[in-house]
């Protein structure tokens, strides 16, 4: 199952529905009459064709969004979570505050496996720039799949850990961390280094981070099929992939990856608390 499942069937049912048929018939007749009144054969021929094209396009987009809604709603039910169509999240980590305008589509939230509170959805963030004509417009629009978990207990130990997929020279999305003061760290694994870029807040305790990035976690991240990045800041873990995951298998894998990461962070927190005690 994915977000396109049932789209074709819905499209056909919309197109053969009474509304679409009436819209096409009345719209075409109106366009033809207008063309006749104007004595313009182009409107008489092209008008009805234009009306049909518009109705088909509307039916297509409606079917697309309805199919996505059905899929995400069904997925939320199947994993025992709640579906919310579109929301805005607090910008607790740099990614959650990326760009000039952002919202989360198909937000699914509740108690994730392991009892942690969190959610998964499609983060859409845009950068607004002033064009050569002086008008503001969308410079780029980016769609990421994110999965967040509340980890308040991590707040004293982790002030800012940002593990991002390595962007390379021709990255398809801008660096949203560019304006955040960070320093880059290296991890011993070559494979991990090829895949990820690790940046931390300037006040992040490096020893704490090295303890978190144990060989098992480094090896797990270096070989994970989704190559998820994550940000850990302000008591929030935000795992992400820089693409829209729109099928049940990948969304489940994303939730599992996030809860695995959260489990490691919590284990590290408990270990530190025991060390202090």
């Amino acid at each position: 199952m994915n977000a396109d499942s049932g789209q074709g069937q819905l499209f056909r049912s919309y197109l053969s529905g009474r509304t679409a048929v009436y819209a096409m018939a009345l719209g075409s007749a109106a366009a033809f009459t207008l063309g006749a009144w104007q004595t313009d054969p182009l409107i008489m021929m092209g008008g009805p064709a234009g009306v049909v094209a518009v109705v088909v396009a509307i039916a297509w987009f409606t079917a697309d969004s309805k199919a996505a809604l059905n899929f995400y709603w069904g997925f939320a039910n199947s994993v025992g979570l709640t579906y919310a169509n579109s929301i805005e999240l607090l910008p607790l980590t740099p990614l959650l505050g990326a760009g000039d305008r952002r919202h989360v589509e198909h937000w699914i939230y509740g108690r994730l496996p392991g009892g942690l509170s969190g959610g998964i959805g499609q983060l859409v963030w845009e950068r607004i720039e002033r064009g050569s004509n002086g008008r503001k417009g969308v410079a780029d629009r980016n769609r990421f799949t994110i999965c967040t978990v509340d980890l308040e207990a991590s707040l004293p130990l982790f002030h800012g850990v940002f593990l991002h997929p390595r962007r390379g020279l021709f990255a398809p999305y801008p660096d949203w961390l560019a304006s955040t003061p960070t320093r880059t760290l290296e991890v011993e694994s070559s494979r991990f280094g090829e895949r990820y870029e690790l940046r931390v807040a300037t006040d992040q305790d490096e020893i704490m981070l090295r303890r978190l990035l144990s060989p098992t976690l480094v090896s797990w991240l270096a070989n994970h099929p989704l190559a998820p990045g994550f940000e850990l800041k302000a008591g929030t873990l935000c795992a992400f992939v820089p693409q829209a995951l729109e099928d049940g298998g990948n969304l489940t894998a994303m939730i599992d990856a996030t809860t695995h990461l959260a489990g490691r962070v919590l284990a590290q927190v408990q270990e530190e608390q025991a060390r202090v005690a």
């Binding site: 011993e188 694994s189 280094g193």
Partner: protein
């Protein structure tokens, strides 16, 4: 004159490539060393845990001096080993000796029920997982480095600047190395 410029440009490109390739090889070799340190850290954690484990066993299995002696000797050899090949052998021996302690636990139910022994066993299992992961990272880095040193044209630099290939690290005991027999 144009020919001179062309030759100079080609020489400059070759020099630039040499510097970049050399730096990449150095970086790759350093990653191997760094990953080796990662293994070393985890092995040291295991070495530090073994005396506690031996002590906890001593209280319950006083007649098993030989097994405990084997573990102590194997640990000492593992601590003293430095070269990767020697470390590999010593760690395999220690793993094998620790297997003796696991077997002891089955013969002494009180030992198996002991809370401190269970905690140490769990800690040992976690460390062994970390050792396995550190080993995977090291071997992956070695593969990466060896491939670089053997690929053309970096092989020209690796050969002339003594970037010797590295060995993989394997700590399996002979028992682990064996192919499991599955009977249907």
């Amino acid at each position: 004159m144009t020919a001179v410029y062309v030759v100079l440009a080609v020489l400059a490109l070759v020099a630039l490539w040499t510097v970049l390739a050399y730096n990449a090889l150095v970086k790759s070799r350093n990653k191997v060393d760094e990953a080796w340190s990662g293994i070393d850290v985890q092995l040291k954690r295991r070495h530090d845990l073994v005396p506690n484990l031996v002590e906890s066993v001593k209280g319950y299995a006083t007649h098993e001096r030989e097994t405990l002696q084997q573990v102590t000797v194997a640990r000492l050899a593992a601590v003293e080993a430095e070269e990767p090949a020697a470390v590999e052998r010593a760690e395999a021996r220690l793993t094998s000796a620790l297997g003796g302690i696991h077997a002891l636990a089955e013969a002494y139910p009180q030992l198996q029920a002991s809370e401190s022994f269970q905690r140490l066993q769990a800690e040992l299992a976690a460390i062994e997982n970390e050792i396995q992961a550190a080993r995977r990272i090291y071997n992956s880095n070695v593969e990466h480095y060896n491939t670089r040193t053997q690929q053309f044209p970096t092989v020209l630099i690796a050969g002339s600047m003594s970037f010797a290939p590295r060995d993989f690290f394997e700590v399996e005991t002979p028992a682990e190395r064996g192919v499991p027999q599955v009977a249907f």
